[in-house]
Structure formats: C-alpha cells, structure tokens
Symmetry: C2
DNA sequence: CGTACTATTGAGCGCTCTCAAAACCAGTGG
DNA sequence: CCACTGGTTTTGAGAGCGCTCAATAGTACG
C-alpha cells in the first residue's frame, strides 16, 4: 500500500493500452508509475488465428499469456494422439501459470478463434514484483485463485452427473462473460461439442443429448454454437442439487 | 542468487529445527541468514490429535500450514452434511494455498492421526519474500506446483475408470512416501475407505471390491489399513493405460 | 454441388452406484 | 473373559446412467 498516487480501477483500465493488464493488477495498491512499469514489460498483443498455438506441451516456459480478445483452450496431448482438454480461457484470463514450477509447459494452448494474446515474460514480471509488494501480492492471489478454480472443477468431475456438469459449464461461461461486460445469457461457444465433452469428462453424444433436453425443458435455446440461457436460476438449482453422491456420515 | 554463502540441501535440513522448512526452500539460492529469518517466522509445531482441525471452512486466512509428521485431509463440507475430500497431505506438504486469494479458507483441514503441524503466518512470509527474491521464486513455484497437481487430479477424475483411479491413488501415496524416505511399497493408510472413495469420486463398495481384486491379481497385499504394493510396474501400466476415453480425432 | 466434418438421434450394453446384509473390528462394561 | 454395541469393511444382487456402436442429418468449404 504505497502511500503515493494510488489509482482507481477505471484509471487502470485506461492505462492499459495494449493489454488486459487489469488481470494482473488490483484496483488498489498500484501507483500509476507501477502500472507503467508493468505495461513496459508486457509485449504487444499479437493476433493469432483459429488453430494457432500460444505455446506447446514440452516447450520451455518463459512467459505467461493473457487473453485480450477471443478464446483459448488448454489441453494435455496424450501419447496416442488423444487429448484431455484442461480449460477454456476467455478475455482477461491468464494461461501458463502451471508451468512456473517445472519451467516447462506441461500442456498446450491453442486459440479457438481469432484472438489477441498478450505475452508477459515471467522473469521480468518476477523482478518487477520484487520491487512492488502489491504486485507480488496480486500474483500470489492469481495463483491461489487458479488453485481454487481447479478445486471446484475437481468437485465437478468427481461427484457430479452429466446434467450437472453441463449446467455448471454453461453457468461458468455465463458468469465469466458477465464479468467482462458481455451478455451472460446470449453467447456463442467457440469450442466444439467434442471439446466440451472432453473437458467435462463425457461422451460427445451425451453432451448433445443434454443440450437437446435442456432445450426441451425450456432451460435454454441452442442453435449450433449459439446458446441462449433462458433460466439461469433453474440451472443454478441443477448444479447445487447434490454436491456429494450417496454420502452417509463420516467419522474421523 | 545472492552471491554470499549459498547453502546446500543437507545444510538446509539441518537448519530447519522446528519445521519441514525445506518445503519452502530450494536447495539453492537461500543463504543461511535467509533460512534463519524464515525459521524465525515459522511457529513451533504444535501436536494435533486425530480429528482435530488445522483450520475450518469459512475462517479468515492468516497462515499456511506445513505437515511435519502425520497426515491431514482437506475437505469441503457441503451444506447437507456430506463432504467432498479434496486431498490427503503427508509430511513436507503445504496446506492452505487455495485461501490466499479470498483471504478465507474455502475448505477445512483435519488431521487423520496424531500430527505435528507448523504454522507459517502468510503476511510475514510475504514480507520476507519481498526481500528475498529466491524465496519469492520458491513460493511462485509452490503455488504453480499445486496447480499442476490439481490438473493431474482433474484428468484422473474426468477420464479414468475406478480401477485406474485407485491405482493412481496408491502410486501417488507410494511416490510421496518415497520422497520422504519412507517405504514406497509398505505403508499404513491413515484414511478410511470411505474417505478414499470420496476423494476418488467412487462408492465405498467399489473401492473395497477393487482392493480385493488387486489383491487377487497379485498387485498388492492389503489388510485393513496396511497396504503392501507388490507390483509397482503393473500399477503404473494400469494408470497409463488410457488417458482419454473414446477419443477419435479432434480438429480445431 | 460434392466432400468432409460436426452434431444429432437411436439401440444396447457395461461399469459403477444403490440397496441390503453379513463379517469384522475396537472399545465398553458386566 | 465374554457379550454387547457402534462402527467400518466386505460381499452380493440388481438397476441405471452414461458409453459405445451405428446411422442419419446438418453445415462449412472448396
């Protein structure tokens, strides 16, 4: 909490000319000067096209990447050619956090549509964070947040039915779009059914059937990649239904 | 990489009188002086008994905790009284990393057997890390590692069969015990079948049946909580078998 | 206007869950 | 020492969810 000119969230957004820098900043604690220094190390967003890689499994880790526009999927290619989709990343979200430890990317990242991606060289970010405590704190928070999200996903995959998984997925998209000022009820999915099903640990056919069923039940309208959520509340109910399957007591 | 007296891994272990400090340190980059300062902020390990809480869901986040001896389970209690087991933590492992962001513990941690737990006040650790770049780096790595582990677990729950899950669980225990210098093939499980099944997203009965089957197949011997792994290689094969279910190609 | 891919729909099967009961274990008090 | 009790673990039988296989429909692109 450096005393000098602490900037507001809005000022911050303006200050971030070339990148979704607000992802890395908190609305408090960073001075305009700090933001400028941060801005300096962020490389200009380069536009990537559908199918382009942001980074590949096995590459040496050098930078974090922030999605500015578009969307990215991360996935772990398995030897036999199959892949496990690990996540979908929307504007404002950071990818590459899992590679810090081993200094090698354990997964690949591919853009799903034409996207602008900012590169943040990690070593320089690290240096900078040594000198700006609130930036350091923000990075700790970011990493911690990622852990929290993984934990939620873990719960989803471990304990929830196909229905609950798809509902949770759609609600997650909805909330993240809302956060970026986009419509939380009317959007296009940039990923295929196959990718969704892979991500959710389901078969493509199951996902397809569920979309149809949700539509029949009036929860949403779906046409190809275009989704319109009609009853967010009902979907919340589906997700919250049962957190744990058949759980009697538990001592310990 | 401060030039002065950089200590070795062994020296480090010796220097850590009251805690598994090596978890927080890297064998390189920290001077003896650094380690002492780190040691100063770590509170003496207090012994907890089976069923005691390290922290509870909803409590304000103040500290990270390092398991020195014994074992801990973390879990997210669900409203209806059920719980979702999030992880089991062995000596040398850190818990609480997911609470940094929200400054509130989103899960609870309970010791499974008599255990010694070190407390590391996070704000002091954070301060210290501002002044010791290599400590900062190590914390980034720790957080990143946690993300990587969650990702692996995610893959496990999303895509693997009951058989593969239990094998992966046992191998994970085995590897972690080996890392601490304990027998990787002969050990006692401090958690109940119920907790294992909950963790793996399976029914208790399924886990029980699998233990029996693994034993029949000569993979292990099991008696109550005592497990003896007889064929680590075969178990590795089971886990690696199929990373992704029914995955044809995938374009994009 | 085909070609290739993606999405949907249908039928059948298998893995894992659920329900139910028995076996086993640990601790308690007679 | 043994019966009693509450708990955990094991074992068995049956059902259902979601997967697999297969075919059809719809869509994008050359």
């Amino acid at each position: 909490m450096t005393a000098s000119k602490v900037i507001s969230f809005e000022a911050l957004r303006v200050a971030c000319k070339n990148c979704s820098l607000d992802t890395l900043c908190l609305p408090v604690g960073l001075t305009l000067d700090d933001v400028e220094r941060l801005d300096d190390i962020v490389k200009r967003a380069r536009p990537l096209h559908r199918g382009d890689y942001v980074f590949r499994n096995g590459e040496r880790f050098r930078s974090l990447y922030v999605v500015k526009t578009g969307s990215v999927k991360t996935f772990a290619p398995s030897p036999e050619g199959g892949e496990q989709v690990l996540g979908f990343h929307l504007p404002g979200e950071i990818i590459g956090l899992d590679a810090i430890e081993k200094e090698t990317h354990a997964c690949s990242a591919k853009v799903l549509e034409t996207s602008a991606i900012c590169e943040v060289p990690f070593s320089r970010l690290e240096e900078l964070s040594s000198n700006i405590p609130s930036l350091q704190h923000q990075i700790y928070r970011l990493l911690s947040k990622e852990i929290g999200q993984d934990t939620e996903m873990l719960l989803l995959l471990g304990k929830k039915s196909a229905e609950e998984r798809l509902a949770a997925f759609l609600l997650s998209m909805s909330k993240r779009l809302r956060k970026r000022g986009l419509s939380p009820t009317d959007f296009y999915l940039s990923m295929s059914r196959h990718e969704i099903s892979n991500y959710l640990g389901l078969a493509v056919e199951t996902v397809s059937r569920l979309f149809t069923r949700f539509q029949d039940e009036g929860l949403l309208k779906v046409d190809r990649k275009h989704v319109e959520l009609l009853d967010l509340e009902a979907m919340e109910t589906i997700v919250a239904r049962r957190v744990v399957t058949g759980d009697r007591q538990q001592m310990t």
